[in-house]
């Protein structure tokens, strides 16, 4: 009895170690995880490559920080300028574009600022600022936040005042806040479609190419962090740019809407 217990315990320990060898950690943005795409991709990745990808779901700022500290093996984010700066610091080996989705403007169903009739995204923002309609900003240095700031800049507006509320939280929490305040907010399409607490909010503006949101995959530099699992990271990259990934990403829909467009280029 005792012998069998010890044996099975040892066996379990060996298994655990073996399994651990195939674990890798990847920090991803909230929007990616909240979209539900992760739930589709991860089991397939495990099936095809044997890699168990553990996701750390955080904002882009924290996702890049985790990579720079060597606490994850790869990052999957969407903030090109920050990504390039991160690479320039020697934190990663390279940057591989995988797919894109798009940002949208969400607001009260009666659209008091008439942002929905704008011809361009910047015009829509100008309309909101002009009407001083409540606007919730992520304010957390995330990719979505950075995109929002870029748009304000392009519109020539420095958003400030009572109507502009920076909440410093993730997409879901920010959407909850906007829903509670009946305010405008910029969101990635996936998070919005998945969001269950819409209240009186609806999609008011979409479609301007400036709102496209490119996701890029970057393995952590093993020269900087020798423990980084570069083999798994490379295997994962190979899978992410494969036809199998294209099929799954392009085929993923939510409420009948396609969320992501695969655009990885073969090398």
């Amino acid at each position: 009895m005792t012998f069998r217990t010890i044996l099975s315990a040892a066996f379990a320990a060996v298994l655990a170690v073996a399994a651990q060898a195939e674990d890798m950690k990847m920090s991803v943005t909230t929007s990616f995880a909240n979209s539900g795409l992760a739930d589709v991709l991860l089991p397939e990745i495990k099936k095809d490559t044997g890699i168990n990808v553990q996701l750390l779901i955080v904002g882009t700022g924290q996702a890049l920080k985790l990579g720079a500290q060597g606490d994850v093996d790869a990052v999957l984010v969407h903030a090109k300028a920050a990504e390039l700066a991160w690479l320039a610091e020697g934190n990663g080996t390279h940057r591989r574009e995988i797919m894109y989705n798009d940002f949208i403007l969400v607001g009260p169903s009666d659209d008091p600022a008439a942002a929905g009739s704008a011809a361009q995204a910047t015009e829509a923002l100008s309309a909101i600022a002009g009407a001083q309609a409540p606007f919730v900003s992520r304010g957390d240095n995330s990719g979505t936040h950075k995109m929002e700031l870029r748009l304000w800049k392009a519109a020539g507006i420095e958003p400030q005042g009572d109507w502009y509320r920076a909440v410093g939280q993730g997409m879901g929490a920010a959407l909850n806040t906007a829903s509670g305040m009946n305010a405008y907010i910029m969101s990635d399409r996936a998070s919005w479609l998945k969001f269950a607490n819409k209240g009186d909010l609806k999609l008011v503006y979409e479609g301007d190419p400036i709102l496209f949101n490119q996701y890029a995959y970057m393995p952590v530099n093993p020269e900087k962090h020798s423990h980084a699992k570069i083999e798994q990271a490379n295997a994962l990259e190979a899978w992410l740019v494969s036809d199998r990934a294209r099929e799954l990403i392009d085929g993923y829909t939510l409420n009948g809407e396609k969320l992501f467009t695969f655009n990885a280029k073969a090398e």
Binding site: D71, G172, N176, A196, N197, H227
Partner: protein
């Protein structure tokens, strides 16, 4: 109101069907917070008793510090533990970040001051009661501490439970050091934060009700255990 009812219904369904994910994160919650409570008690209870019995110059300062540490924001503890255990940090080589072990460490830091403080309070009162008797009977120092710990065990259990309660309901620290990784470090509170973020309020509430139920169950179980112990002293 509707959200709450839906949450309750969903909680009931999750529990009755023994939802595999729910069982997994509930067990991890218990494992982390009970582990932290045990370690925190092993440090905090003797520390509290020691502070109650001994007079030394810095005693007041230590007690004030302990009380101040009780109010330590978990997110700050989480950040400090993260920086320590990050691969780039001084303890990074241990590879403990984003593991249940790191979560236990963070919670031990959070709850030990609470356990020590409550224990100190209880033992101080008991010591005031027992002082003359123990001196009169010439009890040695270790006998005094043993007597106070044993006779104060109910109050000390309350101290441990207070620590456990704070641990199991804590989200700020374990979110940072655990990372809320599915099937690895996801516990009830971080799952609730995640579901809330998704706007899935009924799921978040369902997990919340499971958390409340769990806390009540652990308290009741310990209460009944102590009763049994009391009844079977003979």
């Amino acid at each position: 109101m509707n959200d709450i009812l839906q949450g309750l219904a969903r909680a009931a369904k999750l529990v009755v069907t023994l939802n595999a994910d729910l069982v997994e994160i509930t067990l991890l919650s218990l494992q982390v917070s009970l582990g932290a409570a045990v370690i925190g008690s092993a440090i905090g209870l003797p520390l509290g008793a020691w502070l109650a019995i001994n007079r030394f110059p810095a005693r007041r300062t230590v007690i004030a510090l302990l009380n101040a540490l009780m109010g330590l924001p978990p997110v700050v503890v989480g950040l400090i533990v993260y920086v320590l255990f990050s691969r780039s940090g001084p303890l990074g080589v241990l590879g403990l970040l984003f593991t249940p072990t790191a979560m236990v460490i963070a919670q031990v830091i959070i709850i030990t001051p609470i356990i020590a403080s409550v224990a100190h309070q209880a033992i101080r009162e008991l010591w005031a009661d027992y002082h003359d008797l123990l001196i009169s009977l010439e009890a040695r120092r270790h006998q005094r501490i043993a007597t106070l710990l044993w006779d104060g065990r109910r109050a000390l259990m309350t101290a441990s439970l207070a620590g456990f309660g704070r641990g199991i309901g804590e989200v700020g620290a374990i979110m940072i050091v655990g990372g809320n990784i599915d099937h690895a470090t996801r516990v009830l509170t971080t799952a609730i934060a995640l579901e809330t973020g998704k706007g899935e309020f009924d799921m978040a509430l369902a997990l919340g009700f499971v958390l409340i139920g769990l806390a009540i169950a652990v308290n009741l179980a310990l209460h009944i255990l102590s009763r049994t112990e009391r009844g079977s002293r003979w």
